[in-house]
Subunit: 142 residues, 2 copies
DNA sequence: CAGTATATTGTAACTTTTTACAATAAAGGA
DNA sequence: TCCTTTATTGTAAAAAGTTACAATATACTG
């Protein structure tokens, strides 16, 4: 009984099915603290479920993101990475070295509201990735 | 004498070279008002410069983005698109239909400053893409 | 516990994006 | 104008991501 099965009832309730592939992928994301690329998820989840294939990984990650179970963000090269959806937060990624930190959502709350009221677009809930230069790389550049 | 050669001096001044490939790509972005995918840029720029290859397009777009000449943003599927860097702005993309609008930078100015002061990351100047649901799709869902 | 509907998967082929490296050509100096 | 340096390109191959569709297996029903 993996911790990933916590998510089973909410998926079934929405008419989706709980499969070992989904559980294996969820299990991986659940145990990594941080975000992973699809390739990393594939490599790790295959240990639980050797028959797993790449298209399934991509589809499942997108599926889980659509259902709010995982969250996607951008790597420093613009690729998608995924992590378990927990406390709402955003990332700041160093465009030189790729190092990153989290920023709590409170900082953006007002912006979201303002964008919703001025644009008419609703349910803006995306995770945002900012790019900057980290303290370490700022020193290097001098 | 293409309008794209405006950018030539600033590139040369930084030790980079001005090539017909770069000019052709810049020319395309300069004349499309909006952002394009690398594949679209490739297709269009080939008309100016038939020998152009894909790796060059990808490398050039990344190069131009690094140098602030173009700006990258995310499509609704998470892929990178590029546009000429003009007035600072951000995008809101509809996660249902992909339609999008621009949001002026002023709305985010304070957030950028706050992130810089709390995180220590500097020169945060990235373009941000928010995802939400556009007015048209909100009505469909009811 | 079997039977059924259909959500989900694997397969195979394809498109997109990236990499390494040798060949080329832009820019500056003689 | 030619020479030299080296940034930039094309080539070829690999890696990453996507698609269409037939086969499978989950979850519901009786």
């Amino acid at each position: 009984m993996s911790c990933a099965s916590e998510y089973a009832p909410q998926l079934r309730a929405r008419g989706y099915r709980v499969t070992p592939q989904r559980m294996a992928i969820l299990h991986v994301l659940r145990h990594e603290g941080t975000h992973l690329s699809p390739a990393e998820v594939y490599r790790k989840a295959r240990k639980d479920f050797p028959g797993l294939t790449e298209p399934t990984v991509y589809r499942t990650l997108e599926f889980l993101a659509d259902n709010g179970v995982v969250r996607s963000s951008q790597s420093s090269k613009g690729h998608l990475t995924y992590e378990i959806a927990g406390e709402d937060h955003h990332h700041v990624v160093c465009r030189i070295c790729g190092s990153e930190i989290e920023v709590e959502h409170a900082l953006l709350e007002n912006v979201y509201k303002k964008i919703e009221s001025t644009s008419g677009y609703m349910r803006i809930d995306s995770h945002v990735t900012f790019f900057g230069v980290c303290p370490k790389c700022q020193r290097k550049k001098l």
